[in-house]
């Protein structure tokens, strides 16, 4: 009786539609349902209208943004060329999770978008209280940064990519 009660209390969480949606975000795809539940409790969900600015270039970064739905474009203000166009499952503004670096580009919603916001302070708290979850997220972030770096190097010098 006691065992089943404890089993119930500490039972692994089921993957609800909300958590399943979170699991699609590359930053969280290594997390279990229970871990996703813990992270979900730390996220803030925000809706942005088409053409609304999410953050500005040069602004002090406080949070990372995860796209649940919609499309976000990253660009330098005043320049027509886009740095990147991101869709559901992607994330941006990740340098803010590492330090309070200034944003290197402007983020703007291309269409009505729903974003999950992960505040830096909550991530730092997670490192103290749930180190395993934080390390999984940090590893995913490092992988993404590595991928971006390779992409950039490859674009700048195609021969560099061949030597790797």
């Amino acid at each position: 009786m006691n065992r089943s009660f404890l089993g119930k209390v500490f039972a692994p969480r089921k993957l609800t539609p909300q958590l399943a949606n979170l699991a699609k975000i590359s930053l969280f795809n290594q997390l279990s349902a229970t871990e996703l539940g813990i992270v979900d409790g730390l996220l803030h969900h925000r809706d942005y209208l088409a053409d609304e600015v999410v953050f500005d270039e040069g602004e002090e970064g406080q949070a990372i943004y995860l796209i649940e739905s919609g499309q976000i474009v990253l660009m330098h203000p005043g320049q027509s060329e886009r740095i990147a166009t991101l869709g559901p499952g992607s994330f941006f503004g990740d340098m803010a999770l590492i330090d309070n670096a200034h944003r290197t580009a402007q983020a703007r919603a291309m269409q009505g978008s729903r974003l999950a916001v992960f505040f830096r302070e909550d991530f730092l708290g997670l490192m103290d209280t749930h180190a395993r979850i934080a390390s999984k997220i940090a590893l995913q972030m490092a992988r993404e940064m590595g991928r971006r770096l390779r992409q950039q190097q490859s674009a700048e010098s195609p021969s560099w990519h061949q030597h790797q």
């Binding site: 925000r46 609304e52 600015v53 500005d56 302070e121």
Partner: protein, 369 residues
């Protein structure tokens, strides 16, 4: 946020708001004190709740289990201590009377010594007058005790709110912050998150600073009393340090306690009481001008001068309640004031907010024309 400096207008607003809040909180002291105690309890129990959540427990269950565990511990401690307490109650009464008598004897000896040295005091019959006043005070003690007992009876139910409030802070604190954050426009959202985190850090730092201050006070007083040869020096130091949570009044009570113990335990060494008074005054000076600015003031990132001045302002505005509440209230108002000052003067954020409102209005009106 750290490198931005608030202007003089913002600082005037911060100080005025703090004073107004203190005056208002003084009227709601029956609620303010349980609220403060609940905050302390919240910061004490939060790590235990976090550990349960990490083991896979839901927040609601973890908050309930943590609070239930705490209440069980308190009840167990009560069951273990109460019989001992009851058995010693008569001894304690006798001890208390002995120390009070020691204090009265010290006063009488000191006054008679003054009379012997100064004719003007002898003519005024200072010792006899003081003895008569003390006797009169003792006879009318009930008239002083009655309001105290009635006050305690009025406050006791309010104090029962403490675990109740702490439970809801643990269970719903995060949801409440998310609820508040939802009301903030997108343009100001990141800054607001930062503001909330700073308020949380400020409150946590204040209560941690208070505990550090208690440790420093205990060490200073305990060391001094031990050097003077007091029995139970460390316990006496700890009691005085806890009494110092009540600024000024607590210090007076602590000083009185030390003098009573000195007068009773060293009846043959009358100067011991004066040594104890000297030690206590030195400890209070260290506390008010060094320890407090270094612990609580530092934890609130305030200038030591501002800390000391605001303690006096708090006392002048709201009495004892003001002394108790001024630093945590100032810390929170300071963070909110500085952030609001920044947000409302940031032309770019205001422009983004106006842009988002226009987009919202256009979306709402899109199919009307």
């Amino acid at each position: 946020m750290g490198q931005r400096q608030a202007g003089p207008l913002v600082w005037v607003g911060i100080v005025v708001t703090t004073c107004l809040l203190l005056a208002a909180l003084q009227k709601l002291l029956w609620l303010t004190v349980p609220f403060l105690l609940a905050l302390i309890l919240y910061y004490m129990l939060q790590p235990a709740m976090q550990a349960l959540i990490y083991r896979g427990m839901r927040r609601e269950t973890a908050a309930g289990a943590t609070m239930a565990g705490f209440i069980v511990l308190v009840l167990l401690a009560g069951v273990l201590i109460l019989p001992e307490f009851g058995a010693r109650l008569l001894d304690w009464q006798a001890t208390l009377l002995r120390y009070l008598q020691g204090g009265v004897d010290l006063l009488d000896r000191s006054l008679r010594s003054l009379e012997a040295s100064w004719r003007v005091f002898a003519n005024a019959q200072l010792a006899d007058t003081a003895a008569a006043r003390l006797a009169q005070f003792t006879n009318s003690l009930t008239s002083y005790l009655e309001p105290l007992v009635v006050g305690a009876a009025t406050w006791a139910p309010a104090l029962l709110l403490t675990p109740f409030l702490a439970y809801f802070f643990l269970r719903d604190g995060r949801n409440f912050l998310s609820f508040l954050a939802r009301a903030v426009p997108n343009a100001f959202f990141e800054r607001t998150l930062d503001l909330m985190a700073q308020v949380d850090r400020t409150a946590r730092a204040y209560f941690q600073g208070l505990l550090l201050l208690t440790v420093l006070d205990t060490i200073t007083l305990g060391l001094g009393l031990w050097w003077l040869g007091f029995q139970g020096a460390w316990l006496l130091g700890l009691i005085c340090a806890i009494l110092a949570w009540l600024p000024y009044i607590g210090s007076v009570l602590g000083g009185l306690l030390v003098v009573l113990v000195a007068a009773t335990d060293f009846p043959q060494v009358p100067q011991m009481a004066w040594w104890a008074v000297g030690l206590f005054v030195m400890a209070r000076m260290l506390d008010d001008f060094v320890y407090m600015p270094l612990t609580i003031g530092k934890s609130l990132s305030m200038h030591p001068l501002l800390t000391v001045v605001m303690i006096f302002v708090g006392g002048a505005v709201a009495g004892v309640a003001g002394l108790m509440l001024v630093l945590p209230v100032l810390g929170v108002v300071m963070v909110i004031g500085q952030t609001l000052g920044y947000l409302l003067t940031d032309a770019r954020l205001m422009a983004r907010h106006r842009h988002a409102r226009n987009l919202g209005r256009q979306a709402a009106e899109a199919d009307l024309f």
